[in-house]
């Protein structure tokens, strides 16, 4: 069913030619391409700065970033509702800067769902088929199929206002899928749902993606949502992609201090590089102590750096192989499966340590000075 592609819908012969000349492999891996794209709304500030991005066909890519970082703007440029101030966007090998939105054949799910309030669910779903001049029986069949996909058969006659938030979300999804686009854009589609429903829908969307083989660009500011769903995540900040990689790399191997801080919980320690020894650097903290760390994104000898350590990679007690130090326990929070300790380590009072709540685990008291350690590979020296 994914064979009715955006290209055929637009019916541009030239594009078909172009597609033929592209080698199959590159067409598959370069389905969506942003090339040096910049965007400014007011002519003074760049909302998107020099965006370069390549997406493969069938990929689930998430744009993740704090609000105002330019994610929606990127999506709108791809959908054709905003024009890039500079640079080119390619879809299936064709530049699409001058193609109007309705010819792009891209499905979209909006944050507020944008279900047409004056139409029933059935009419909403058959709208994209009507504008494609499909026959009545074919329309009904496809609408039914789409409703079946989101488990909403039997709701055709309802108005959007008569549906719950979760149901509206499913209908919005079905409406974006019903005309079988190859590419679907979703702008914070689950933002209005409660936590439980949101997690449930995350899996449903993920499964639909796998089943249909469509390409999805997903926008969210929720990092756990991004980690759960995506093949790859582009972390946005300030109109720039900070890091583009798969979820585990993003969490375990952040390339800069922003990503380390934005994804998951993170301990930051500031220091100066003392010496460089291959991949390992010696860093001196401001209190004089030292630690070894993995050189990832830091300058040479004498430059400032931020060390990033995940809380679960910090161990209690001293270990010969590791970097060792002491921390004063400031606060402890009981979280059921684990206990979270906030400590003052090398002048950082927000250093967090997480201990699994196993039987016979060590117990610390507030005010106690505890011995802690971490491996050099788990400690990443990043930009200051």
């Amino acid at each position: 069913m994914v064979e009715v592609s955006a290209v055929e819908i637009s019916g541009v012969d030239k594009a078909k030619e172009r597609r033929k000349t592209l080698s199959d492999a590159s067409e598959k891996s370069e389905f969506v391409v942003f090339e040096r794209v910049q965007k400014s709304y007011d002519g003074e500030t760049l909302v998107v700065k020099d965006l370069n991005l390549t997406m493969a066909r069938g990929e689930f890519l998430t744009l993740l970033g704090p609000s105002g970082s330019g994610k929606t703007t990127c999506l709108m440029m791809l959908a054709g509702f905003e024009t890039a101030t500079h640079g080119d966007i390619f879809l299936a090998g064709r530049p699409i800067n001058n193609i109007p939105p309705y010819k792009r054949g891209i499905g979209m799910v909006f944050q507020n769902y944008a279900l047409f309030p004056h139409m029933t669910v059935g009419e909403n779903l058959s709208f994209p088929l009507e504008v494609r001049k499909l026959g009545k029986s074919e329309r009904e069949e496809k609408v039914k199929k789409a409703l079946d996909m989101v488990k909403m058969v039997g709701f055709e006659k309802r108005r959007p206002a008569q549906l719950s938030g979760g149901q509206q979300q499913r209908i919005a999804l079905a409406r974006a899928l019903v005309f079988e686009p190859e590419l679907i854009l979703m702008d914070e589609p689950l933002g209005a749902l409660d936590k439980q429903l949101r997690e449930h829908m995350q899996f449903e969307i993920k499964h639909l993606h796998e089943r249909l083989g469509i390409t999805v660009v997903y926008v969210t500011h929720d990092q756990s949502e991004a980690l759960t769903m995506s093949d790859r995540i582009a972390v946005f900040n300030d109109g720039v992609i900070q890091q583009l990689s798969n979820p585990d790399d993003l969490y375990e191997r952040p390339e800069n201090a922003f990503v380390a801080q934005f994804i998951g919980e993170n301990n930051r320690l500031k220091g100066t590089i003392e010496s460089l020894n291959g991949k390992i650097v010696h860093v001196a903290f401001d209190d004089g102590c030292q630690s070894k760390a993995l050189a990832v994104n830091c300058g040479g000898k004498g430059s400032r750096t931020t060390l990033s350590i995940r809380p679960e990679r910090v161990a209690l007690g001293w270990d010969e192989e590791s970097n060792t130090t002491r921390g004063e326990v400031l606060e402890l929070t009981y979280l059921g499966d684990h206990i979270r300790y906030r400590m003052n380590v090398h002048g950082n009072p927000d250093f967090v340590l997480r201990l699994p709540n196993t039987s016979g685990h060590a117990e610390l008291a507030v005010g106690e000075s505890a011995k802690i350690s971490w491996k050099s590979e788990d400690c990443r020296a990043l930009d200051p």
Binding site: I9, A79, G80, F81, P100, P101, Y102, K103, R104, G105, I106, G107, M108, F110, Q111, N112, A114, F116, P117, H118, F127, P128, V131, R132, R175, A176, F179, L185
Partner: protein, 416 residues
Amino acid sequence: MSDSVNPILAADGTPLKKKLGQALFRSRVQAFGLVVPLLAFVIVSFIVPIVVLLWQGIHDSRYAELMPGSTLALSKWDGITEPTEEMYSALVADLIEARKQKTIGKVATRVNRELSGTRSLFTSTARRAARLAAPYKDALVEVNVAWGEIETWQAMKVASRVYTPGYLLAALDFSLSADGTVTRKPENRRIHIKLFLRTLEISVVVTVACLFLGYPIAYLLSSLPLRTSNILLILVLLPFWTSLLVRTTSWIAMLQAQGVMNDLFVAFGITGDDDRFSLIYNKTGTLIAMTHILLPFMILPLYSVMKAIPPSYVRAAKSMGATDWTAFWRVYFPQSVPGIGAGVLLVFILAIGYYITPALVGGQDGQMISNIIDFHMRKSLNWNLAAAIGLVLLVIILALFWIYDRIVGIDNLKLG
């Protein structure tokens, strides 16, 4: 567990339903207390005067009160046969009394409405009534031969009715005769129906023109950033800052034969210097000036409704493959209908009762029904007819409102 068998009790033992009723009653009384001043004001200054005025359209007791004897005699008369001596003697008694009370002028005016020329007949006869002696028929005919004519008596019979459909019939260009039959007025005296139709026509044209001019402007305003649209909205409201009279008279300067528009037409060679368009003191003038004056009433509700339509709807439509036009027509337009409904209703109802603009720039054929009501209120002083015309206008508006509710639905209307 039905509450008649086992009512749920509140903490103090009273049934919950009763308790709730008490609580709601208090808040209702409070709410009512808030609207009492306005309610009193509206009743005293608006509803009572309107009801009293409209009442006059079907109720006229002037003749019956001032000439009680002849009213009784006339009511027994069939209106066709010769007037009896009893009627003549009752008339003379009434005339004497009316002259004494100095009310004869009112009586004369009333009968004169039914048959013109009878005013002086009444006043002059009343002056001599005291000196007349029986048989009164001969005596009266001697004073004036008109007393022997049956039309005079028929006019008196019509005038003596307290509850009369006569004014309403007159408002619809019919006349009521003494024996109760209804006939259409002769062609050259049918003016009201024509005026009603013209009023409807002008109102419809003005409403449609406002819609077509206002819709794109409201659309533009709603799609602009808030700061720009606020400035433009002030321009839309600018006409409200000057008086209606000033605006209307400025249209005279624009549209008259030697006015700005005609000078431009001549300058651009659209028309000759001695062949200027007559744009004012006719229906064209009324249409142009009224459209201008009522335009903000269309734009404002449209704007407030359009402002509330999120752009994501049209974007969603386009992403699904709808062209700009399809997205507008199938998705945007239906959602702006409540604004159209409110604007159309507002402009139409304002237009149908419009008065000052047609009076100033309407000339002969640009007059509307309100102008004739004004004429009867202030010039001919026939308040009863004015009230009857007003009543007909009210019925027409209510009927149109009902049709509107049927087609558009009154709940499908949004002012903001």
